[in-house]
Subunit: 441 residues, 3 copies
């Protein structure tokens, strides 16, 4: 088939639907094929979400100083590993099995029910249990990735990983059960398609709590009240990380259709892909224009965070908005980031990579925006969900951070911070041959 | 199933087709399943093409000097964002809707006709309109990415982005309508499967026009007539970018089958994947051997551009050639790059990343090669298409570049070029801790 | 569909299978749809495996010194190109066509039998021949990638590429025919799902042979008997490479189901994805804990190799183990790496990136572990396969390395090694503006 032929097909297709009105006779997807397609969607889209772990690793590697780069790399691969294991041990059951009201089942260990495989049968509209586990698991990891960037350059490695265990085993699954597990917020009608609140704001709240308790990096906020920018060591890596996140987000939002076994679900997934892309584009362009106006220069890191904020903003409802609306929703996300970064600095909350503006603030915006684009969603219910989950995560995170602080401690000592975490905690350097970053900054 | 069992299945399969002659009875793909598969192919392959935007960003980041690296990163994420928005605003309609002769519809804004979703019906052989939009949109972005590399290190940020708007909103869609929109070149029988001419040469012509009008980078061509090579700052990133492009090209060419709803389309897609891979391999090996013979050394950047040239060469017809022919088509592309890079230098056309040889020259070769591998294609018609599109893009690009030059200007001033665009235009450094690139070069 | 609704579907699905016992009536996948799905699985999963070539390139780029970085990039793109061409020329036929006992057909050149496409027919359970070729080809390349890392920083470029030709054209396909081609080991019942032995150990044995014959890098092992660590130049790239490998491994193991045309194969693929992910996670966590205990510090490169070792370990049987068992199998892989790296140093075998522990030793472990998780596999047969393939590869590799050594030589001269291969063999620098790596180390 050649490209030039397809427009005629499209035209015929449009004619058949839009104009003639009468639906053509058609043969429906059979139940086993639907099962295969649903399952394959979870696997392909889930693999794209797993790839976001690499995106966060590169974004954060590029935005920290070279003396802390290897440590942030290690944290990212470790947190992704831990998230998978805790979600297997307790998280999945807490979030999805036998959810009644506020929490699921606390039976440890989870394994797919392979009755399907053994019996050679399957449900219409079903999917492999393992494929669902895989797709849900990569979402937990995303929430943890958000925290690592905000708290970089001064948190202890093992304390951070301890928090990851608590976040992925307890905090994330319990609040997740309230909505995606079918709990009380779902029953109220709270709507969060792929997790502006359930994933991104959760990571953002945990990061905010941690950033306040941990305190700012030495030298970030001068005694004279001035903010001293601490530039990242490797901006092409940060750019790469953002592109990886953008690509992975097609899986994040697209896979959240949770089906591919019908024309309706395929159409929905396609709308999600297009809207996700345009919201990110809107975030980039809005952030660039606003920084040009405000500062007479465009900042690369703001453009990157604009993309992420656009993606987070559309995540609560990527299927319903028109394409033009998706651009606007993303653009507001980009604007939020540009305005919120200096605001956090004013509050002396030191967020190394801008995770709190991009994931928490844009996540709140995106969750509210559902009430604009989706007639079934209620503004009040959306607010209740945002506040309830925010309060839950903030309180639990704060307790956990304090517990870690008073037991094993959460912050490296001042000398280690000056030397850099790579030498102090890992005994190596990320770029041993390039300049002498650890001495100049 | 274990791997060792499959060869028997394959043998049985071959026996059933090749030897027995008589076709086995079979059940055909039903129309809704075909619809889902066609749509999913656009989404998965389109996501791979989107990933090429990251590939260009990394390739170009690696091949510029460190003082211009953040700017090229910003240009790449910005151009991808702009391409999506302009294609939504006007491009898609200009290229595909109601094409009669030379141009489509100029009705602004485009949104998918969701009659399908609402009615729950769908055409046999159809696909979601949004999935097609997504797949076509990522191709526009590719054309713009090609330009950014060639003109790096001296073009003004906003002038470049202004050109991107014109390229993606006007130049690309209009010439695209001539072939893929079903316009006059399609009616003549011009054949360009996935865009050796429509995407890669278009980017190349626009880059050529820009490179001539913009002039060479300061110091590239000495007054003594000698060429001073300006090495890229980060060759592993350039290598990564090439691998990303290679991977993305499976989607670029494979998705251009435009269907996955039948065994015939799946077979075609598989042939496209295999040929695409082997053409790239042929380009690498040919470029390596030729540089070894000509210079007694192998140049990494030539090998990378050999891969890209091989990919561009097979893009005009990746389905029909045998595997051996695909290797040869790609190898010629690799040879073209090695010979054309010094030729451009002789003409003092400064193409920072080798985009013009790899995309324009190899694109012309690939489009001509269709007449060799595809009996239905005519050598004369292919030449008419190449010349018509080349002339159109060259004339329009030149007008646009001049308009930009006399209004907002297109080149940074000499001092800014010496300082580097990162400090001059963005006020930051891509690698603030690594060496002092901006002072040494 | 919204996420909150799906748990009910899952519950209904579980009820239908697990509890009610009686299978619901269902419509099976039709034969053409199965053909399309099988083919598409090879293409999507094969593209992920191709992506592993980029992963190895980045991992190795990050773990060598900056003076040898461009050369390792070139080797990686060249070996992937060569592997494709040799597998087309002879490899595929040697491995899969008319295998009788110890070897397949030696008829040069291979092209897909397109009878299917022409006749418009296809077998039930079949797939496109090209898609299978593509999927098998990327596995050959993986074996070659393993060798390049171990022998980096002192091997001559063209000698290495000469070995790649021999490995991919002769060594890999012949031993591959013994199992996946249906040869004598397959008949014995040797089980290696996706290639712990057939791919990873093969690369490892070839690397071991090469590392011994080539000798250690100058300065690695002091005359005083002490080991001098030679740190890699760019650890974020090594981290990126590991994430790329992890992602690609979903295709490596998942595609090795060799089918997607039934609910059973989709369920198997989903189990493979989940287990592959958890084995890697187990490898990371085990390597981190063990290095913390042994050295009071966590080493990033050990964590990365822990992930790879976990992945290699599960590759021989990713479908059968429970999720908990997958974590354990991977964890043992991680422990093996941490213990084996110093062991190799004690033997003065200089493996630059740790490829031999991660691919050979973990590959042996994974192949043995099949006998634990799969009741049908025999411990003795697994050992026979490991030893037979190991001996074959070791003997042939050693012969080939010696032939290369006495003809064109395999090691750069001492001065070139000190200068770095980039300047000596390519005449360029990977990072011309960053520090002065080649002088400091």
């Amino acid at each position: 088939m050649r490209k030039q032929t397809y427009i005629k097909t499209a035209a015929a297709s449009l004619a058949a639907f839009g104009l003639l009105g009468a639906a053509p006779a058609f043969a429906a997807v059979d139940s086993e094929t639907a099962y295969v397609l649903n399952t394959f969607s979870f696997l392909v889209n889930g693999a794209l979400v797993m790839w976001m772990a690499a995106g966060f690793a590169m974004l954060e590697s590029g935005l920290v100083r070279s003396k802390n780069t290897a440590t942030i790399c290690l944290k990212n691969i470790a947190l992704y590993s831990i998230a998978g294991i805790t979600f297997y041990l307790v998280g999945y059951n807490l979030m999805y099995l036998d959810v009644t009201g506020f929490i699921g089942s606390f039976s440890p260990f989870w394994s797919p029910d392979d009755a399907e495989a053994l019996a050679g049968t399957f449900a219409d509209g079903g999917y492999s249990a393992s494929s669902d586990w895989f797709f849900q698991m990569v979402f937990v990891a995303t929430a943890a990735s958000i925290v690592s960037g905000a708290l970089a350059e001064r948190i202890k490695l093992w304390s951070f990983l301890g928090f990851v265990v608590l976040l992925t085993a307890i905090i994330y699954p319990i609040q997740g059960s309230w909505v995606w597990g079918g709990g009380w917020l779902a029953e109220m009608g709270f709507s969060d398609y792929a997790g502006s609140t359930l994933v991104h704001s959760v990571g953002g709240w945990a990061a905010l709590s941690g950033a306040i308790i941990l305190g700012a990096r030495k030298g970030k906020y001068g005694t004279d009240g001035r903010v001293h920018p601490i530039p990242g060591a490797n901006l092409p890596l940060a750019t790469l990380g953002t592109f990886v996140l953008w690509l992975g987000w097609f899986g994040f939002n697209g896979g959240s259709v949770l089906a591919l076994g019908s024309a309706a679900s395929a159409i929905e997934m396609a709308n999600v892909f297009a809207n996700t892309n345009l919201a990110a584009a809107g975030g980039v362009v809005a952030a660039m224009i606003l920084t040009q106006i405000m500062y007479k220069k465009v900042d690369l890191t703001m453009a990157l965070n604009g993309a992420i904020a656009g993606l987070v903003s559309i995540t609560a409802e990527p299927a319903d908005p028109s394409m033009g609306m998706a651009i606007l929703i993303g653009a507001v996300g980009g604007i939020i980031v540009v305005l919120a970064v200096p605001l956090l600095d004013k509050l002396k909350i030191d967020d190394v990579v801008g995770a709190i503006p991009a994931h928490l603030f844009a996540g709140i915006w995106g969750t509210i925006a559902v009430a604009i684009s989706d007639a079934e969603a209620s503004f009040v219910t959306q607010l209740i969900g945002i506040v309830a989950i925010g309060a839950f995560v903030l309180v639990l995170s704060t307790i956990f951070w304090f517990l870690l602080k008073v037991t094993i401690g959460i912050r490296v000592d001042e000398e280690e911070e000056v030397t850099g975490l790579d030498k102090a905690e890992l005994g190596l350097e990320a770029y041993p041959e390039f300049g002498r970053g650890s001495q100049t900054l």
